[in-house]
Symmetry: C2
Subunit: 278 residues, 2 copies
């Protein structure tokens, strides 16, 4: 049987036009490449080139061979890549989440539970999360939908409540509680990667303008420097009080949510260890 390296050489000759150039690119002497192609032809039992004295061109067979060679080389690279991806996927836990806060809690928790696995996480829409779980692109998803499904575990993970952070001078700063509609129309500062929260904000405050910042430390600076209302959550520690801001609870039921972990039953042995957060 011929060898893959010879097919690679064949493709290089096509790519670079001459034996000399191809040999150079392949880090091979030109006579070595010449002989390698002679061996390939011998092995295939077929000529691949038209040989003039100082010129070599693909003949009809060679052109046909190039097509086959491309396919075989592609399949070979695919084999290598797929195997490596397969191994990597076995040592990686992929999380998909609908919101950032529970993801920030779960990620380090998993790293502690499975020290030799790498943990990868991303935020997606509810539909994409379910699809990703189905297709095994996520091993765990964090969702607000508590649905029992055959073959899946769905268990409560944590609750999140939102607050509004207001500077003392703000007209609403002294209220015991407010609803999102009270803020409608005002410019509001928020983190851009808030997942499904953003949909709720747009729905409840259709007249507000949202200043979305995707850098979390830049957001901190903006909060300190501005008088703009912004959100806080029970799930992340904060020092808003030190910043001379007050937290006012929100009354809307939509901003008091329960997050659920969802994963395949076959992972229960591993992921059963994950403890609920609050």
């Amino acid at each position: 049987m011929f060898e893959l390296i010879q097919l690679e050489q064949l493709l290089a000759i096509d790519k670079y036009g001459t034996l000399s150039k191809a040999a150079q690119e392949l880090n091979l002497s030109q006579p070595a490449l010449s002989r390698s192609m002679q061996r390939l032809e011998e092995e295939l039992g077929v000529t691949l080139f038209d040989r003039q004295k100082n010129k070599i061109t693909f003949n009809e067979n060679g052109i046909l061979a190039l097509d086959y060679a491309k396919k075989i080389m592609f399949a070979s690279k695919e084999m290598k890549d797929s195997l490596q991806a397969f191994v990597k996927s076995k040592s990686t836990i992929s999380i998909g989440s609908c919101a950032p806060a529970p993801m920030w809690i779960l990620t380090p928790q998993l790293s502690r539970l499975f020290p030799d696995m790498s943990v990868q996480s991303e935020m997606k829409s509810f539909e994409e999360l379910e699809k990703g779980l189905e297709e095994n692109n996520y091993q765990i998803i964090i969702t607000t939908k508590n649905v029992n499904q055959p073959g899946m575990i769905c268990k409560k993970y944590c609750e999140e409540n939102l607050y509004v952070s207001l500077p003392p001078a703000h007209p609403l700063a002294l209220r015991k509680s407010i609803s999102l509609s009270d803020l409608d129309g005002q410019s509001i500062l928020l983190f851009s990667q808030v997942g499904f929260w953003f949909d709720i904000c747009k729905e409840k405050m259709p007249n507000s303008f949202f200043l979305a910042q995707d850098n979390i430390s830049a957001l901190d600076e903006l909060r300190k420097a501005s008088a703009l209302p912004t959100f806080a959550t029970n799930l992340t520690k904060n020092n808003y009080e030190q910043e001379n801001r007050g937290l006012v609870p929100l009354t809307d039921s939509e901003v008091h949510v329960t997050f659920y972990l969802k994963y395949r039953k076959s992972y229960e042995k591993q992921f059963g260890k994950i403890k609920a957060f609050n």
Copy 2:
């Protein structure tokens, strides 16, 4: 990149179960095979086997790799086979014919015109001939249909007239001419590979019984030894008279046919040289 021989070895290990057995079948020492698989794993960057002290089995990756290896090996063999078939097809002229006699004339004619080509011929139905010409399985077909078609050349090749060969004692032996229907009901001796002629015989002599012989020399013997009517044609030399048989011309228009050669216009340069036979 890994090499095809390593994939072949991988498949052999799967096939024969142990390194030792596989090595033996591959005409290789067992340590050499062991190291070759270690190199394959190293090259892929992935383990393929579970290794106990004196036992080696495919792991999850290895099982996956086997699938890829099968595909790649298949594609490689396909490459080799297809290239060889392609070369062979270029040095072979395939003829398809609806009847034997013109084929027997054309075949040696082509061999003389193209001494370094091999000539292959077979008989098929009209439909299969057209299909084969379309799909380039035949370079030339011999047919009775004279149809002009774009991209195709269709030219007269020869005419064939059938005669009935009868022993002198036969009731019809003295007739100047007869029609096929005169013979209907009689047992008739004929060559089995007569192509479309057989369809005509069955149609014109529905009550006859046909003694089909597929060996042409055996047929000659039968003709000499029996008193059965049989057919003769203007296209092949015969010695029926010496055999004490007479030839009576047939009147049916169906047994006076013109054969046409049909081939792609692109072959006109080569096949234009073919001369009509009569």
